[in-house]
Amino acid sequence: MEMFLQSLISGLLVGGLYAIIGLGMSLIMGVLKIINLAHGQLMMVAMYVSWSAWNYLGIDPYLSVVLSVPFTFYLAKFLSKYLLNPLIEKDSILPENQVLMTVGIGMVLVELARFLFTSDYRSVQTSYTGQAWDLGGVSISIPLLIAFIVSLLLTAGLFYLLMKTDLGRSIRATAQDRLAASLMGVSAEKITVLTYGIGSALIAAAGTFFLPIFYLYPDVGPEFTAKAFVITILGGLGSTVGAITGGIVLALAETFGATYLSSGYRDAYGLVIFLLVLVFLPGGLKSLTKV
Amino acid sequence: MSILSLKNVTKNFGGLTAVNNVSFDVEEGEILGLIGPNGSGKTTIFNLINHFFPVSSGDIIFKGNNITHKKTHEIAMLGIGRTFQVVKPLKRLSVADNIMAAAFSRESTFEGAKRVTREVLEFTHLDHVAHQKAGGLPIAGRKRLEIAKALATRPTLLLLDETAAGLNPAELDEAIDIIRAIRSDLGITIIIVEHIMKVIMNISDRIHAIAYGTTITEGSPAEVAANPTVIEAYLGSDYH
């Protein structure tokens, strides 16, 4: 029973973090209509920014959000403006050339990180690292709890942005119908760039709050990219609520699978569920399989 | 004998009934005109015949076989060719290779497909652009390529969806000649959808008129043109 509760609680908390990763991806998918295979890599960039701030300047990772988020935001805007947007008009044999571009971008980011920081595993040591609450046998990691709360705040913030602001309305209009939106005077190009920036800023925030919990190394990027698209597809494409469910489902599948089945397969559970959903849930899929 | 029969065919898209209980027969060797205002369901009927969409209810009989639940490629192999209103050229292939791809449906050898392609190119007057990329053709050429691809599959029934739209008068006459020749020289039965009255009234043996997915009338071009409901629903606006 305790084991069950422990799995459930860890699963839910991690799920909150995954939700943020999924939200960013979902947003980008909705507007750009591409799978962003540089997603986790941008998160990794943010993590290295925070790690450097901690390592060289002694800044607490929770504070360095103010560095990592803007940095990633502008980097992502730059990437989408100069590398992704120009491809929209280019005729290429494979329609997936934007996706392939994100692969190239991701590769460059990982290798740059490897070059600058080596492949070593990094982590930050803070006063709260490893701290946990003990609730009758079930322990709750404090940094994880904080990260979870921040995720909730970010989700709420994103909801507000999308639903209540002009920018949000433009984003939703562009996601629904790019042409119609541009006829209504929304600059689809600007919105695309901005969306890529915002989606990346979200994962940047997530990455920074992960830092006290997870190890950091260049290849953490691709790992989280995989998680991001699993979450997004699990939850249903382009849907904000879906990203949250997807995040929680993935995290629960991982923790319960690792606890009760086999921990070696931890990373496979999500992928298996992912494939099953992709193939056997045509309700949520119709829109995707016929793009 | 009728080559194709639609029996009480209905198609719903969510709440919208795009085709509502439509029935008609096409006789072997005839040209049947299918008319109706924009959005009345003509293209949808074609999409149901070649099973781009499944019907919501009803049956489609081709040469005595129920093809309602056959797959698109099977229907093509049974002998129903079609063109697309929104043309679908294989863009990066040359015009000739577009036709080659279709010709392989009946020919298993390269040489055989090549021969069919040459014939079709000549028949559709596309030989002079044979080596151009299909994506770069002007609209008249792309419309004609639609017909050429369909012909290369050696159909016995051909569905033409607005293959004359957007053509200038000279191109239009050429298109009409080609369509006539398809029936007279190749003996192919045709269902033709067309907004241009000059074409449809001249070319069709019979006309089936629909509005809002529902049949209004069927008869000879003269009868249909004189039908008050048709005039109201459709011709009214066009004939003024």
Partner: protein
């Protein structure tokens, strides 16, 4: 597709050159190894290109076929001491079977979802082959003392596999199958309207593609004498690099992936060796980085790849030379 001669003189020339290359020069084992790797990538890139470049099914999981081919040679050896050389028989076939099974799942998906589906499938295999130690020896991998010390015999074997792969593409693209692959790539709906059974021909394409990738995998084990799941099922180092080799050389062209393979290996080794010792040592860490930049450049400016956009490249170079001459 055109009707020029099936195999041109220059193509025969290239093959003969590749065949006699080791007899003309006395290469160091290092260079011999590079030649073998070039050929290995020719096979992987060309096989990916058949499925993705010609049939439009952009696989992000080609490592699945490479890996299964490698283990088709490795597992019988690990379990029963069966000679890995049998892998050259089993590798391709096993990969075809896997391809067929995968196809049942992933061919229901289109576009980017197909890409993700294949990626996920290959990743699941990587994890599973690491876990099932009774079958694969898990992460310890399978070790075997290679048959020959000299690299030359291996070179000729992989050359034969590469020639087989390219020849397959050449033959297929002149037949009905090839025309159907291209039609499916260009417009699946239009293809089905002209009588093409898209799922059947996607499976055929997958079968041919996976066969050669599986052969490459089997060869890899025979040649290297060691495999583990992280190496042969690698997402980045196999699946992604297969794609990038194809893109750089030119998707949907016969020789594109081969050129891409040469560029990739050359670039990698030039940097890895820090320009053969002429550049400072830190440069050697930059090979993957530079390769990534090259990919970005090609996607932006040469969407047809080096081979596909060769005319464009020639024109650019020509113009440049002209303007320089004017100065």
């Amino acid at each position: 597709m055109h009707n020029d001669k099936f195999i041109s003189k220059s193509e025969i020339g290239i093959f003969i050159f590749a065949l006699v290359l080791p007899f003309i020069f006395d290469f160091s084992p290092y260079i011999q190894g590079l030649l073998i790797f070039v050929m290995l990538w020719v096979v992987l890139g060309t096989s990916w290109n058949l499925l993705a470049g010609y049939t439009g099914q952009v696989s992000f999981g080609h490592a699945a076929f490479f890996g299964i081919g490698a283990y088709a040679a490795g597992v019988p050896f690990f379990l029963f001491k069966v000679s890995p050389w049998w892998g050259l028989l089993f590798g391709g076939i096993t990969a075809v079977i896997l391809g067929y099974l995968l196809g049942i799942v992933v061919f229901r998906l289109r576009g980017p979802y197909f890409a993700l589906g294949t990626l996920a499938a290959a990743e699941i295999l990587r994890i599973a082959f690491g876990q099932e130690e009774w079958l694969t020896n898990g992460h310890n991998g399978i070790l075997y003392i290679t048959t020959w010390v000299s690299k030359y015999p291996y070179y000729f074997i992989i050359l034969a596999i590469a020639a087989g792969t390219i020849l397959t593409v050449k033959v297929v693209m002149r037949r009905r199958e090839g025309y159907y692959f291209l039609s499916i790539r260009e417009d699946e709906d239009a293809a089905s309207a002209i009588g093409i059974n898209a799922s059947k021909y996607k499976n055929i394409s997958m079968g041919l593609s996976s066969f050669w990738a599986g052969m490459a995998g089997a060869f890899y084990f025979i040649y290297m004498g060691f495999i583990d799941p992280e190496t042969v099922f690698a997402l980045h180092n196999i699946s992604i690099i297969s794609i990038l080799v194809g893109i750089i050389g030119g998707v949907g062209t016969i020789w594109g992936p081969a050129i891409g393979a040469i560029i990739m290996v050359l670039l990698q080794e030039t940097f890895r060796s820090a320009f053969f010792g002429f550049a400072p040592q830190w440069v050697s860490g930059m090979h993957a980085f530079v390769f990534g930049l090259l990919v970005i450049f090609v996607i932006l400016y040469l969407p047809g790849g080096v081979v596909g956009d060769w005319d464009l490249i020639k024109k650019k170079l020509h113009l440049k030379r002209k303007s320089e001459m004017k100065k």
